[in-house]
Subunit: 312 residues, 2 copies
């Protein structure tokens, strides 16, 4: 599973390049004032990363278009602003989570974290700006020739905001923060799953859903993509926990073993490594089944297997 | 000008109560998980405050509806979610600006600031959550029976996100932060105006515009409301600077004299008190003229005079 299938590999190369190009257009290096904020936003945004959330949005858009025999290129283009908005939101969450008052991390994507480079104040503001710009992008692009596009945008913004906000990602980080303060003893297995479902799972699920909505998915396709995204989010976090235990900092591009050292509960600490790996596979299996039952193909299934098999 | 006209006073009482009720509905005390984030959000959100931005949105909605002989109650109801979203965004900006890494303030709206009560980590997260929930609210409410409503919502989200983001409010705070670090010597009169136009003016202007858009304003009404909001934002900040010099902490509900003590440039420090007062009146005059020339009446003009005449 760590070997990437040949056509997924080519797809990943092409679509990642599309995402990087689009991010360059949406958050350009020049021409935006004041320059210090945009520079700090770009420092964290253009530092590489897997671009998993944008890729999920694009693959979901392609998948529902393919199933319904509609124009795949058009679906991908319609989903691209949402795909990039999700990367902005993911990046903001990393910038804020790395702050001294949160996880206090100095290394991210192989580089010093934003607050190390720009100071805490500007790092907080760069995060705020990335989050806000994500919604500007979702509302602005693609500019609507199609009158149905306004309704898709509104639905996408609602999905993304719910997933990123107090009941979703921010709520998960708050639970994580409180658990760390109490030495990790506040969370049992259910609590751990709930925390991760909010902190990581919600935005991964929203990424797939956002791509599907922007591509004009029908209600049954939406339900399948939502189920897929929920299971994939869970699998992603279990693998993340496994890599945190196994990995070296250089491979991960961030400080490894940190969660365990902080006394935070992880899947391996609760279930052991082998059972955690099996659990991740089970979730991936349910994710694929959701797609299969709705007849959604394309790169989305391969992408799910890549997520579970990844080494960093 | 410090005396509030009788009908404005009654309008303020009624509409403020509407806003408080709506905020209670949109950010309820119970029923949202995880409770610790929602509690921290409410701590700052429900601490009173003038509710100027919601009131501007509502008054603008009423004003354009009245001019175009449309249903004023319907316009007000359509604008209420946007009005509340703007208060969530304003509140998030206060929570983040008060952080030790920014203005390091311990008193706000007469109470200890969020990070004093909840710690820095949760205060950052509560701010993030308020900002994100604002966009959820803008996308979700009012639920669309009217198919034109999706287009209004998208337009409103774009306006609000641009005003709150990197080129607007966040950008202004970044300029302010850098100026404070350099002892205030980085800003001349033009730089001060630019900083305030972003930091405070942009969201005040967006408040009036958001109310107008949600009420279905025509292009000429939008232009007038935009010009009004721009001038009012400038006047608001000049008065704020004057009150910071003159005021006592108890009246303001925040630490007075702080900007001057920090060596930050202010309108009184650059122009003197009397010239600053005259400047605020000029801006208010231009704001009123913009409304008059477009035939927009209602409470919006009185609200502008209240802003300039306010004592806290």
């Amino acid at each position: 599973m760590t070997v990437i299938a040949a056509d997924l590999s080519a797809w990943l190369d092409t679509r990642r390049r599309d995402v990087e190009d689009a991010l360059e257009r949406y958050v350009p290096a020049t021409g935006r004032e004041p320059g210090l904020v945009w520079e700090a936003m770009r420092y964290s945004l253009m530092a590489g990363g897997k671009r998993l959330r944008p890729l999920l949005a694009i693959a979901a858009a392609e998948g529902v278009a393919e199933r319904d025999a509609r124009d795949i290129d058009a679906a991908r283009q319609a989903a691209m602003p949402a795909a990039c908005a999700l990367e902005l939101i993911h990046t903001y969450s990393l910038v804020h989570d790395d702050l001294p008052a949160m996880d206090d991390d100095v290394l991210r994507r192989g580089r010093p974290t934003a607050h190390v480079v720009y100071g805490e104040g500007l790092a907080i503001l760069a995060g705020d700006a990335l989050l806000t710009e994500a919604f500007a992008l979702l509302a602005r692009e693609p500019s609507a020739a199609n009158p149905a596009m306004a309704e898709r945008k509104v639905a996408t913004i609602a999905i993304v905001a719910e997933a990123a906000g107090a009941t979703g990602m921010v709520g998960g980080q708050a639970i994580d923060l409180r658990a760390a303060v109490s030495g990790g003893h506040a969370l049992d297995a259910d609590g751990l799953r709930d925390m991760h479902a909010r902190k990581t799972g919600a935005l991964i699920r929203a990424s797939a859903l956002a791509g599907a909505v922007m591509a004009g998915a029908s209600a049954d396709a939406m339900q399948a993509v939502g189920a897929f995204g929920g299971q994939l989010g869970l699998a992603f976090q279990i693998v993340d926990d496994i890599l945190d235990v196994e990995g070296a900092s250089a491979d991960l591009g961030k400080t490894a073993g940190k969660d365990a050292a902080a006394g935070k509960p992880t899947y391996p600490s609760l279930y052991g490594l082998e059972a955690s790996r099996a659990l991740a596979q089970e979730c991936a299996g349910r994710a694929l089944e959701a797609l299969r039952s709705a007849g959604i193909t394309g790169q989305l299934p391969a992408l799910a297997q890549w997520v579970v098999g990844r080494r960093n």
